[in-house]
Symmetry: C2
Amino acid sequence: MPDQDTASDAARFFTFFNEVGIVYQLASAMFEARLPPGILVSQFAVLNHLVRVRDGRTPLDLARAFQVPKTTMTHSLVVLEKHHLIRLAPNPRDGRSKCVWITDQGREFRQAAIESLTPDFSALAARFAVGQLDTMLPVLQHLRKEMDLQRDG
Amino acid sequence: MPDQDTASDAARFFTFFNEVGIVYQLASAMFEARLPPGILVSQFAVLNHLVRVRDGRTPLDLARAFQVPKTTMTHSLVVLEKHHLIRLAPNPRDGRSKCVWITDQGREFRQAAIESLTPDFSALAARFAVGQLDTMLPVLQHLRKEMDLQRDG
DNA sequence: GCGTTATGGTGCGATATCGTACTGTATGAT
DNA sequence: ATCATACAGTACGATATCGCACCATAACGC
């Protein structure tokens, strides 16, 4: 009964994404409580991406990576630049475009923000066995990759 | 070396939540593309909660469930009521408060929205083995519960 | 080269989210 | 009963997010 199967698949995806959304909300709230006023999780996420993945890319690359409209990314970058956490340089390869570079201050800010979360993570580790994350992480990464491919192609 | 351990725990939580955030973004984008204009994921999520968990509760209960400020929830409820997807009734137990009830139209809307996602889920199921979700779901739910408890207590 | 189309970024207006302050009702102490 | 305090919801202003229109440059066809 393939109809039954696809219905069941859909229900499982829906339930799963619903749960992911809740965990995201809770983690965001936890994180935002530690960030200094004026910097939001969305903006920190950009900073984090520049360190974890690569800086020097264009605003549009970042917008695509985060699945947000380019106007939203422009705004986030303006805020980060105002705080001297990134630097926007002209793109030598394309006169229409720019390159986004993280500053030393930006790296320090990211590091400090991550460290400020340590108490929260410690408290959570006392409630939840961290080893369980190791099982889920590669599966989540694989899921993300496939969703990315589906989006693009 | 307990310091090393807690640092490693923190790094694992951070990496994991980062991945959760990415999956959430991708799933939201996928979902929002199927919702009719005028209804956002945040508003649909409220509707979904009313069916999955319970309706008849107060706006503040919902705000706490979603970890959003009560003013944000007020706004979402106004939008949903404007579309006749919910009904706001006075709370017979408390003159300051209200009760949120989903309408028949709201239930139909939710069902139709979920069904509109079926093609996306089918395509994704062809790329990603759905059974892997079943392993992660209970762990995610457990993590969410512990994060909730940490937040409250 | 020149014109057409495509693309990166921004300006602008609309809605969403959030913090603060306020209103009205409930709760509790006396 | 009266008063002080706590609490649910709203009003309002600030920022975030988003869609649409526009500008400047790039890419392409000829």
